[in-house]
């Protein structure tokens, strides 16, 4: 029975799932609409439905039927995970938690009428709206690159087909070829992500193409877990990886996707694979809703409410909130705080002090895992760091292996916490 229902709601056409809303008994209940079914949005939808015990009508708008997590997508590139193991469907949110899952694009928000309009034509009214749309790329951030060129020069910074494409390109590199990465400026999604990716690309190349080289052009003088990555690169991939920081022109880069070359501070390099990770901004729906300031959406730390509209909460990568890194873990943590505040406002449930936390694990090589993390609290101005930790250089292999195994446990735990 569950299976049938799950299959129906999880894979049914958008129109069918919209029509199913009244069957869930929506009449007269407060309505929460969540836009974006990633780490923040899926968690928010699940917790809003679960913790309100049906007292809130929850609709999740997400265009894709299978969500591939950005976290662990580098492990797919390195050959440590297959793609299906990082894919998740929304079936359980619908069948076990009663979330009304609508596979469609949100294309407009009317803040006065408090409605979200969808590409398919439906209009969803809300009492509270949660926006968790992730990132989009800043236009012309890397001269020569645009989304139209993403098949020639993939970003692979939204997981799924882009990740598959990048891996296929790396596997097809000629012997002794060159993989280049254009790293993004701060702030961006998953601070250690580009460097874990380089580690995983190196791991893959060492196995299939050991004379290949890796070049990173980086506008940042320092990056997340820098000492740990550099130690690991030296240890496992000596001589393979060349990192060019801003002192050597790493911030002055343009690309030519048709010629497959990049220009670093006037020096042109022909490359076999060019992984361009451009500068980032809040998912475009935030801009369309008029709640951004600069590239991001500022929020009230204690509730994750937009500073422009108290009926809209923003989660995860799109926010400008203070000290938390843009990560899936952060989005998950922020979702729980936002839902608690929303339940308090809509159903009168108790509201407790906001607590946030984050940990980012990265894999450098087989059984060589590292992590960084911190706890946070809400102040008036920002989400402020309270305490933190980071793996140390020179740790023994047993600890690094335990850290990697811990990351596997975390992945299982957090994806269950998001998707049920």
């Amino acid at each position: 029975m569950t299976l049938n229902r799950r299959a129906f709601i999880g894979t049914g056409a958008a129109a069918a799932t919209v029509l199913s809303a009244p069957m869930l008994g929506a009449q007269g209940k407060p309505r929460v609409v969540v836009v974006g079914g990633g780490a923040g949005g899926a968690t928010a939808a699940r917790y809003a439905a679960k913790d309100s015990d049906g007292a809130i009508d929850v609709t999740l708008v997400e265009p894709t039927r299978a969500y591939y997590t950005c976290f662990f997508s580098n492990l797919y590139i390195g050959g440590f995970r297959d793609l299906s193991s990082i894919g998740h469907s929304y079936g359980t949110l619908a069948s076990d938690f009663g979330v009304n899952v609508v596979h469609d694009w949100a294309v407009g928000i009317d803040r006065d009428a408090k409605t979200v309009s969808l590409a398919g034509g439906a209009v969803l009214p809300y009492d509270r709206l949660i926006l968790s749309p992730g990132i989009d790329f800043v236009d012309d951030a890397v001269p020569g690159w645009s989304v139209a060129a993403q098949n020639k020069m993939p970003h692979a910074y939204k997981a799924g087909s882009q990740t598959e494409l990048l891996k296929a390109q790396i596997e097809a590199m000629p012997e002794g070829g060159l993989y280049a990465m254009v790293a993004p400026p701060n702030p961006y999604r998953c601070p250690p992500g580009p460097y874990e990716r380089v580690s995983m690309v190196a791991h893959l190349l060492k196995e299939i193409n050991p004379t290949a080289k890796i070049l990173i052009a980086d506008p940042k003088a320092k990056f997340s877990k820098m000492a740990l990555f550099q130690e690991g690169w030296q240890k496992h991939y000596g001589g393979m990886i060349d990192w060019i920081g801003p002192d050597f022109g790493g911030g002055n880069v343009s690309v030519n996707p048709d010629e497959m070359n990049l220009d670093i501070d006037g020096v042109v390099e022909n490359v076999d694979v060019c992984n361009v990770i451009p500068a980032q901004k809040a998912g475009r729906i935030c801009e369309m809703a008029g709640i951004t300031e600069g590239n991001w959406a500022p929020v009230v730390p204690a509730t994750m409410q937009s500073r422009m509209d108290e009926n809209i909460h923003v989660l995860g990568d799109s926010t400008n909130q203070g000290d938390m890194p843009k990560s899936g873990y952060s989005a998950n943590s922020q979702a729980k705080v936002a839902v608690m505040a929303i339940r308090g406002a809509l159903t009168g449930s108790r509201v407790f002090p906001a607590k946030f936390s984050n940990t980012c694990w990265s894999l450098i090589n087989t059984d060589d895992g590292v992590k960084v993390g911190a706890s946070y609290q809400a102040t008036d101005e920002k989400i402020a760091k309270v305490d933190g930790f980071i793996s140390q250089t020179g740790e023994d292999s047993a600890l690094r292996k335990a850290t990697y195994e811990e990351s596997l446990g975390w992945y299982a735990g957090i994806t269950e916490d998001m998707f049920g």
């Binding site: 917790y47 913790d51 873990y329 998950n332 943590s333 729980k336 608690m340 108790r350 407790f352 607590k355 936390s357 940990t359 992590k371 993390g373 911190a374 706890s375 309270v386 305490d387 933190g388 930790f389 047993a398 600890l399 292996k401 335990a402 195994e405 811990e406 990351s407 596997l408 446990g409 975390w410 299982a412 735990g413 957090i414 269950e416 916490d417």
Partner: protein, 234 residues
């Protein structure tokens, strides 16, 4: 550890506990106390692994690392990988209540409740550890003033609704279905075990930076609230 804090004078001196927390205890008396351990553990010349690992050289040793073919519980092995080392403070916490320090340990021992007895038996074990015994840097040095929890902390009535909210942070990593691959399970814990374990993290007796950080910012009331919530769910 705790370099140059205290001179370890004479392990056979009979010194009051905890008046002089610097000294371990009375090793002679500790030999008697050790009788309740000797069914499983051997110590001294020719000691071998038996039901439990031998205890020669236990001070300064990483947990779960005795060598030979001794097979530890998953919990103890994990604690060792996380960086738990046997020093006076960690051993004291462990023999007071093994489960408070290492969840899932196979050492089924109710614990030694009297601080004096623990001090004495540790003084006795200390004889069989290699490090020089009578210089300031040598392990042991001093015990932290207190590792057991006051009754009023254990007796705090937790608020399960608050605990439910706080628990959402735990579930980011600990799987709700009780699966314990890579990260230990936290379902089905007796309330008191949960409380002492969290306080052991808070005081950084248990290793693991994430848990030390998470527990470190929880108040006594918040730990009680979490325990009350977890005790309510099956």
């Amino acid at each position: 550890m705790t370099k140059g804090r205290v001179v370890f004078a004479c392990i056979f001196a009979v010194i009051g506990w905890p008046v002089m927390a610097e000294e371990i205890g009375n090793a002679e008396r500790g030999k008697e106390v050790f009788n309740q351990c000797s069914g499983c553990h051997q110590v001294g010349r020719g000691a071998e692994n038996a039901i439990g690992p031998h205890l020669n050289g236990i001070f300064g040793r990483r947990a779960g690392s005795v060598g030979g073919d001794y097979r530890y519980s998953k919990g103890l092995e994990r604690a060792g990988n996380d960086g738990l080392e046997w020093h006076l403070d960690t051993l004291d916490a462990y023999i007071e209540n093994p489960k408070a320090l290492v969840s899932g340990t196979r050492m089924s021992f109710r614990g030694i409740k009297k601080p004096q007895d623990r001090a004495d038996v540790l003084a006795y074990l200390r004889i069989y550890s290699d490090n020089p015994q009578n210089i300031p840097e040598a392990d042991p040095t001093a015990l932290p003033p207190e590792v057991d929890l006051p009754d009023e902390v254990l007796a705090l009535a937790g608020d399960p609704a608050y605990g439910e909210y706080l628990s959402s942070e735990c579930k980011t990593c600990h799987q709700a279905d009780g699966n314990d691959d890579g990260i230990p399970s936290i379902t089905n814990w007796p309330e008191e075990d949960f409380i002492v374990a969290m306080h052991a993290y808070k005081r950084k007796l248990r290793p693991h930076p994430v848990m030390q950080m998470m527990a470190g910012r929880l108040s006594d009331e918040e730990i009680a609230a979490l325990a009350a919530y977890f005790a309510e769910i099956e």
